[in-house]
Point group: C2
Chain length 484, copies 2
Amino acid sequence: MSEEQELGITESKEHSPGEWYTEVVQKAELADYAPMGGFIVTRPRGYAVWERLREHLDGWFKNTGVQNAYFPLFIPESYLEKEKDVVEGFDPEVAWVTHGGHDELEERLAVRPTSESIIAPFLAQWTRSHRDLPLRVNQWCSVVRWEATETKPFFRTKEFLWQEGHTAHRDEDDAVEETMTRLDQYERLYKEVLAMPPMKGRKPEHDKFPGAHTTTTIETLMPDGKSVQAATSHYLGTSFAEAFDIKYIDEGENERTAHTTSWGISWRAMGALIMTHSDDQGLVLPPTLAPKQVVVVPIWQEDTRDEVLEYAADIAAELDEAGIRAHLDDRDHRNPGFKYNDWELKGVPLRIEIGPNEVEDGEVTFSHRPDGQSVTKSSTDIVDTTREQLDEVFAKLYASAEETLEGEIREAESREEILGTIGQYGGYVKCGWCGDEDCEEPIKDAIAAEIVMVPLDRDEEPVHDECAICGEIAEETAYFAKSY
Amino acid sequence: MSEEQELGITESKEHSPGEWYTEVVQKAELADYAPMGGFIVTRPRGYAVWERLREHLDGWFKNTGVQNAYFPLFIPESYLEKEKDVVEGFDPEVAWVTHGGHDELEERLAVRPTSESIIAPFLAQWTRSHRDLPLRVNQWCSVVRWEATETKPFFRTKEFLWQEGHTAHRDEDDAVEETMTRLDQYERLYKEVLAMPPMKGRKPEHDKFPGAHTTTTIETLMPDGKSVQAATSHYLGTSFAEAFDIKYIDEGENERTAHTTSWGISWRAMGALIMTHSDDQGLVLPPTLAPKQVVVVPIWQEDTRDEVLEYAADIAAELDEAGIRAHLDDRDHRNPGFKYNDWELKGVPLRIEIGPNEVEDGEVTFSHRPDGQSVTKSSTDIVDTTREQLDEVFAKLYASAEETLEGEIREAESREEILGTIGQYGGYVKCGWCGDEDCEEPIKDAIAAEIVMVPLDRDEEPVHDECAICGEIAEETAYFAKSY
């Protein structure tokens, strides 16, 4: 096997998506497996993508009244127990610290699986008057959930990076609006940064966040027909406010209970990103998130080396100065073919090829990572031209992901039809649903598909009058899909 | 007690520095105590300072070849045991995870007290050839050390935020140079961002980081005469490289062992910052780190309200647009005196007062937080004028901290002189030292002062020929001080 082949992707996205995914993550140097099962090491290339994603979202949060803070990594067991749904929901998944140094602790400490139970008491402490509301804090941190299922980097790991926002409001309207603001920002992130078309919906009652009144969700469809829960926001009603005593004095001097929310997105977004755009040559990233947006590859013979290299270096420097993240690959011990493969594997969205012809004609040749399309352009206005090419690459990625989603929402009117449609095509199947969790069971048991969402609007008429499973009156529309 | 007094600082920096410090931290809304002893909650105002500090340093790191990454929160006990000095140094302070969900783990997991033992095996995995070196990774995260001593927000907490850099190099020279590069960047941070004059030195052999060949340190002097270890870098020699097998093939095809370093700064830097500049009115921050750099306070009577407010709002908007972090305090239910006290307490470096006179004359009145000095200037070129005023505030803070340090390095030639000088004046006492830890003991026992550093240069002649404690030949100069 040649060096090129060893370095490249050997698995097929179409035929063995699981193995292919893991190979892309490792060979593109995004992450490695840690020695403890269920944990990964996020390598610089992977972390740089997360940093950029964070920068975008963090800016939007700050522009809409959110402040970052940092709360302890540990939560005393007694605090976790104060909200009964939380303890029931997370207890089986908690990592427990029992010893500090050589001593056993008097009370076990949970490594945060989510921070409502340690943040709510402080929202209570900081809330006195209606003037203190809304109160919004957010933290970028890691959480630990001891799930037994198989590790899939970024999709399913015992420790994962995320952001968790926690807010307190005067009333239901204000709190619900908050959950919509954040859901819209997550939607925008998928559309404008990750180049993925998101769907917005609500989780069915039986699949809400523990302690939540309503859980709203962003779902994205993967090329293999499975859905990913890609971000969520929760209207928590007064359940945490009551458990932790978040009260305020209103304009009329009356004491009232606040309404709270929480919302989060994890590095699963990166998993969905990698899965959506990448291919059998390796990683594909949109220019918005790529650590390097452009690689400049000079192609020389012995006698043209100096002039080609100088021209290429000037182009790279000009792009760099304009804020385009460009890299000049001037390695002497590698040939252009090796370099092409290497940067395709690592997901650089745009390649600029420069040989003696380009130098002579004052041109450059662009090659688009997603489809290999290439075009030769004048090097005058190289910055603007490169920006246009990057925009084209982004548009291609979005269009391709949109095409995957289109036509993947089908209807069904019976249990058999649900099973058959998802079995054959994957994607989403929408149908009338009575609202009873029991009607999800036979679908789950047969093909591991579940109700990933229902429409955002509670008053929306169901797609059919009858529940596709039991035949009773349909209360809403269920979207069934297999999911990650 | 009036509301103003309750809100303000009641303790004295001079007479009860410990209580004063805690009061400033809490009343300026930087941090609160968490329910578990030893932990704090970093509030938005405090976290914003940390974020800015991080931004500065992170930019410098990235410009000098450092890449961010993220390694697991947990380290298997067997990994911690691979480097014997590390396990001895940290074992008494480790928080242990023993249970995941309802099951006891087969191997205990340490919550990272520092990450050499989980990062080194990956430096080994990623290092093949001399071309892979130097290899530099850094992470911004929290670490846990189960110290039994009393909690002091930012100075001493069981969990703290920090950055830890880890690098691998071809040889000693390259690795030692790395530790100096990072020490210089920490020095720059103190000088240019925190407005504090740092001292650079080396830790004595008996106080090095576990497993290190050399620990270099930044020390800063607090107003109460105590020294703070404000950042450190460690040349680790080949101890971790040997324990974790970090090897590379050199140009001559020989296998060689890498040399590694690590370096870090924690939120203790924020503690030192607060302690250094703040006063009995509350928090004082340099403009470089202040979440709000300028507060604009309009002063109106009933009949001048609209014109004063409009003028003030225009000024605030103009500053904001120019990238100066300005806040207009237009609260109707608070008088100017309350607002002055409030923003002085919270550490806004510069106040702009605007009354009817200022409006009429097209002027503004600046007031400097550190010393209350005020000056009236034309509002033409308000952006440039404000920048000048902010620079003046920064310069005042630095000058004042420098004055504290000056004259606080004294010499001593005997044990009695060391004890007497530190007892009377605090600060640093430098003296000849034989290099034996035993000679530090009597000073430690008597007044809790220790050798906080020795000169960076190992070949520097000692300040005196004889050890001030035992009278034997002095090998180097010891700097004794009480420390945080």
